[in-house]
Subunit: 164 residues, 2 copies
Amino acid sequence: MPAPALVALAERLQRLCVARGLTVAAAESCTGGLLAETITAVPGSSAYFRGAVVAYADAVKVRLLDVPQAMLDAHGAVSAQVALAMATGGRARLDASLAVSVTGIAGPEGGSEAKPVGLVYVGVADAAGVDVRRFQFEGDRAAIRDAAASEALTWLIAAAEGEG
Amino acid sequence: MPAPALVALAERLQRLCVARGLTVAAAESCTGGLLAETITAVPGSSAYFRGAVVAYADAVKVRLLDVPQAMLDAHGAVSAQVALAMATGGRARLDASLAVSVTGIAGPEGGSEAKPVGLVYVGVADAAGVDVRRFQFEGDRAAIRDAAASEALTWLIAAAEGEG
């Protein structure tokens, strides 16, 4: 089971989305399925959760989320641009009211001066458009993934509160 | 973090696949991302893990894993047929050497006499073909999901040992 604090966020998201008739999808890279697992840890989540694409390889971001290869080449997978494209693509491909994306560097390898370990972009897409936020988390791989999932769920809750 | 016993299986799978140049993909329904999260909890997993489709809604099974709608109508999402199709579709769509699928009833709702809570089908596809196994797990939602992920990882390890 994911951390209780994460599951509590997923329970709150579920209550809101079911009450408002909203559906949710996820496009995950560095969280690697943690977000979907947290959402589906709550019984009854099939009432609003459509599913997720865990796009670990860049080719999967292109093939299943419609992220342009040229964008990956120009900005890298961990970028605001790719987070926006993943959220937009995830919402369209999984046919959801709201979609969240997470792309970042969970470490311990893969960091650089420009893109250090803990850098994470979260995107949210709804019918009105798409937005992205940049985070710099501290801690080990598990802590960074938990923090990213927490921010993604918190933002989904706020987005669901603004809908309907 | 997933249970240590699950992460240990993922570490073993990673060592094997990296050594043999194999890639892995997952097509998850009832495990809801737990399998992908377990695999990606291990640092360096991007060297062999392509990603996953968490196909919670049936429409996602059709759209992203090429499961025929007629098969879902005839046999239901929790069936040997759909597990086979999810593994085959996941392997093709995510372009992996090995793909695993999991579809089942994690409960507490959704069970029936013919398909009780704890019924889980696991499929594995490789270049030679695809196979499926049927399990009946005991316990609560979390225990059933953990057991399904454990069987999926164990089978992937055996399949990787048989390759290359």
